[in-house]
């Protein structure tokens, strides 16, 4: 069945069950991936997957939901029945409705959908990449984590009010994590990830080069003294922090009492006037962009922080109604509709007179810690309390020398971090999770072994 046929099937089954109001979100995908080990194929994977999430409204306008992978006629009927039963437990205190924007026009970008290259081609390309990475430096002994994949999928949203949206996409991903070993030293590991619409769009050579350079750059390491340091966050690491604390801009989190913000936080000054942050799911560099969210609301660019102040929150249909605004296209379909950002873009505003513009990661000669990548986010972030304590990969720049930091954590408070931004470099970099320049923060605690 295609997505139109499934919609018809659901409509018929709902009529049969006398269910007047329903909607659904679905995803249908075909994925192929390979892994290699020293030139040999290790695991080759293919999967065909379908997931259907159905919501129904009962006579009291309470919502019930069911998720299933069975899209046969009987599977759909069973799902509708289960959702109807679940609607008896629907949330009476926070009603859910269709998004008022579910039929608005959506901005459909050039889909750039690619054709599958197939497992054999994936395998050949990954084998070659592994060989090149191993040959790039004598200390690189293995590439323990590697993979090349391509996915082809369709996402659908439809409801009983006549809304129907669908888009198809392709996406490919390459990751290479090398392990370097030298005598009398601890093994060091680093890597690189590249995304593309298809395998032909992935810059494999640059992925190999990045993985090699990063790994080698950590070979000469030293422990760092526990102290407070001037920090330069790489674009990737700053985006990691912003995403980890995105509950500050999340209306759902505010209503749930797990955000540092509250309903009245719009306009609150969080940082230097030089800081702008947007959520821009449709950005041309976002390979994973989706033109609509789980409730069918069109995706759009939204300013979250304007000149250091909170400008907007991200919303689903129900949170927008409670906040007396419109949905922003950030909903995830569920029994309790979730809200999450798409693609964060950080930039320097035109108001940057208070910045120390001499701080530039490529030229600054004073002492600072460069944080390349933050790890273990799930364990080290207390989003509801605003605190973090995270291990990181990075370097200490001191006396004109750069040395890899053996093992350390950076700890602090997100509000303190944002308030203590001392420079936002001009040049932005594209990462797999968004776009950001390098960001400098004064006086954050680092714990090391020394």
């Amino acid at each position: 069945m295609d997505s139109r046929e499934i919609t018809t099937q659901i409509s018929k089954a709902a009529d049969f069950l006398n269910l007047k109001k329903w909607d659904y979100g679905a995803s249908f995908s075909n994925d192929y991936s390979v892994q290699v080990d020293k030139g040999e194929a290790k695991q080759l994977k293919a999967s065909q997957k379908q997931i259907l999430t159905l919501r129904v409204w009962n006579e009291s306008n309470l919502v019930g939901i069911t998720t299933t992978s069975d899209i046969s006629e009987s599977g759909i009927k069973k799902a509708l029945n289960q959702a109807n039963i679940a609607s008896d437990f629907g949330n009476k205190n926070e009603r859910t409705e269709f998004s008022p924007l579910a039929k608005d026009p959506i901005e459909v970008k050039d889909a750039k959908k690619r054709n599958p290259v197939g497992i054999k081609k994936l395998l050949t390309l990954l084998r070659e990449a592994e060989v090149k990475l191993l040959e790039s430096h004598k200390s690189i002994k293995s590439v323990p984590y590697n993979g090349l994949s391509e996915s082809f999928y369709e996402r659908v949203y439809a409801n009983s009010d006549g809304a129907f949206r669908s888009y198809t996409k392709s996406q490919a991903a390459l990751y290479l994590y090398a392990r370097a070993e030298e005598k009398n030293k601890k093994p060091r590991s680093s890597g690189s990830v590249k995304l593309g619409y298809g395998v032909e769009d992935i810059d494999i050579e640059s992925c190999i080069k990045d993985a090699s350079n990063k790994t080698i750059s950590h070979l000469n390491y030293s422990s760092i003294k526990t102290d407070k340091y001037l920090i330069c966050f790489s674009p990737e690491s700053f985006l990691t922090i912003i995403n980890a604390f995105s509950s500050m801009f999340n209306a759902r989190s505010i209503l749930d009492g797990v955000s540092l913000s509250n309903k009245n936080s719009i306009g609150e000054k969080l940082s230097t006037e030089a800081l702008n942050i947007y959520d821009d799911g449709l950005h041309e560099k976002n390979i994973s962009s989706s033109p609509f969210d789980g409730e069918g609301t069109p995706t759009k660019k939204l300013c979250l922080i304007n000149k250091g102040r909170i400008e907007n929150f991200i919303h689903s249909e129900s949170t927008a109604r409670i906040f007396k605004t419109i949905p922003t296209g950030h909903a995830g379909l569920g029994s309790k509709v979730s809200v999450s950002p798409d693609w964060i873009v950080v930039e320097k505003s035109k108001e940057y007179s208070d910045l120390k513009t001499s701080l530039d990661h490529s030229t600054y000669e004073g002492e600072f810690v460069y944080i390349e990548e933050l790890n273990a986010i799930h364990a080290g972030v207390r989003a509801s309390q605003g605190s973090f304590s995270l291990p990181f990969d990075g370097w200490l720049y001191k006396n004109g020398k750069k040395i890899s930091i053996e093992s350390a954590t950076v700890a602090g408070d997100i509000k303190y971090l944002l308030k203590n931004i001392v420079n936002i470099e001009s040049s932005q970099e594209v990462t797999t999770s968004g776009i950001s320049p390098h960001i400098w923060v004064d006086e954050l605690s680092i714990t090391g072994d020394a």
Binding site: A41, I65, K186, K336
Partner: protein, 473 residues
């Protein structure tokens, strides 16, 4: 009974699928596979969320799918599908064969499936005893109400999830088993706030194969624990960073062994060359006070299973005995690629993952000391009463968040501290576990790794680590 005698062109749960499964395996072997395994799954899951004094989410889900894995030499091809018809399964076999590019004429022998071993027989009796959504909702609401102990508690949540998984596993070595697995987990969370101070508290409980366990769960005790923890931590200062001795509490304190050492004893880590213990079998890798076990047999424990996802009954594996490394945790691919015998540890989240060597109930065995002995032995250190999550990096460094910590001064527990992280490497920390308490207890958790998220138990008695890096401010 009649249905079991009908030849079907589709997998039917609760029926005999032997003929169809044999036909598919014969087909794969005929195309040149060395080994073929079929894992078929039917799930019926539910989750319920209570926030403050209301049920805010009820989420049922169900699904069916198959994962087919084919080995040729040490290579394997894995295909997953939602199509459980004969045509769909054979198409998946063909796809796996094609991926592996099998061209030789060597053909393995398949002698048909063994007699069906049905581990679900004794469980079918209790399927109807699983609590209803109504019953679950009522108890969750009582639980969240129990958390309303003062006005500093600003959010109260109770969550429950139930996974009912029916599996059929058949492979070309004759394995033919089926099972029903029931996992239930329930958790309570609070956030406390007073002016600029904030803290949180959480506890999670879980069981396998015990439908009444949720009914028996002592929600009052759980609510008291969570409340006390959040109140104790509300005004806590941040811990000062540094090297110091620590005492790790029992139950979820075992997460440190799970993450820091347990993962390095999985054969998948040997395959990747990422464990420092690869060539250390029968060598000392830990303090002599440490004996560590991984097993899947403790009745009702969250990581227990009647049969693993490759059709093998789980064994009790003594991984470390008195500090000496004795065994690795192994699955079929691990045995094939590293030579370590399978331990009944082939596990996966669902049909869309190939099984891998994964921990089950993993714990450090009890020692002879009391908790007080451990704390009294430290003049200046940290007591980690409740651990948060943790992770281990590609080169073995680990880190764990301490949710509830207290300073130890002159052998006594003193003020609560927050923001602590434990940082280290397994091979450096294991020899520093110098004292084990006599109060072994287990705690449930979810472990995410190569074959998805699986239910596990971590555990230990109170243990003392002589020196570890504590991250703070």
């Amino acid at each position: 009974m009649l249905s079991s005698q009908i030849k079907s062109n589709e997998i039917i749960f609760g029926s005999c699928n032997k003929d169809l499964l044999e036909e598919i395996i014969f087909y794969g072997i005929g195309l040149g596979a060395d080994f073929i395994e079929i894992f078929i799954e039917n799930t019926d899951n539910s989750s319920v969320l209570a926030e403050e004094d209301f049920i805010t989410s009820v989420s049922p889900s169900f699904g069916r799918g198959a994962g087919i894995r084919i080995f040729k030499g040490t290579k394997d091809g894995f295909v997953s599908t939602n199509d459980l018809t004969k045509h769909g399964l054979m198409r998946s076999v063909s796809q796996a064969i094609e991926m592996l590019d099998i061209t030789d004429n060597k053909r393995e022998v398949f002698n048909g499936l063994n007699k069906h071993r049905d581990y679900s027989l004794s469980k079918k009796k209790w399927i109807n005893e699983v609590p209803s959504i109504h019953e679950i909702s009522e108890k969750l609401l009582v639980s969240t109400k129990s958390l309303k102990k003062n006005n500093k508690i600003i959010t109260r949540k109770g969550s429950y999830s139930r996974n009912l998984q029916e599996v059929i596993i058949a492979s070309s070595d004759g394995t033919y088993v089926s099972d029903i697995r029931l996992h239930q987990t329930v958790g309570l969370n609070v956030i406390a706030s007073d002016a600029q101070y904030r803290s949180s508290g959480s506890r999670r409980f879980g069981s396998s194969g015990m439908p009444n366990e949720f009914r028996l769960w002592d929600h009052e005790k759980a609510a008291n624990d969570v409340f006390e923890s959040s109140m104790n931590m509300l005004y806590a200062d941040y811990v000062d960073a540094g090297q110091m001795p620590v005492v790790l509490a029992n139950k979820f304190g075992g997460v440190i062994f799970h993450e820091a050492c347990g993962h390095l004893l999985e054969t998948t880590q040997i395959e990747r060359g990422t464990t420092p213990f690869e060539n250390k079998l029968n060598e000392k890798i830990a303090h002599e006070s440490v004996t560590a076990i991984d097993e899947g047999i403790s009745e009702g424990s969250f990581g227990s299973l009647s049969v693993d996802d490759e059709g093998m009954e789980p064994e009790k594996s003594v991984l470390i005995k008195d500090g000496i490394l004795k065994k690795f945790i192994s699955d079929r691919a691990g045995e094939l690629r590293t030579g370590h015998k399978r331990t009944g540890s082939g596990r996966r989240q669902n049909y869309s993952f190939a099984a891998a060597s994964r921990m089950r109930n993993t714990y450090i065995a009890k020692g002879e000391h009391s908790k007080e002995d451990l704390i009294n032995s430290i003049s200046d250190g940290l007591y980690c009463k409740s651990m948060g999550g943790g992770s281990v990096g590609a080169t073995g460094q680990f880190n764990f968040a301490v949710e509830e910590g207290y300073l130890i001064k002159n052998g006594k527990l003193t003020s609560p501290v927050k923001g602590a992280t434990l940082i280290g490497e397994a091979k450096e920390v294991m020899p520093k576990i110098s004292m084990c308490g006599n109060d072994l207890e287990l705690a449930p958790g979810f472990c995410g790794s190569i074959s998805g998220s699986v239910n596990v138990t971590v555990g230990q008695p109170h243990i003392k680590v002589d020196s570890i890096t504590v991250g703070g401010r």
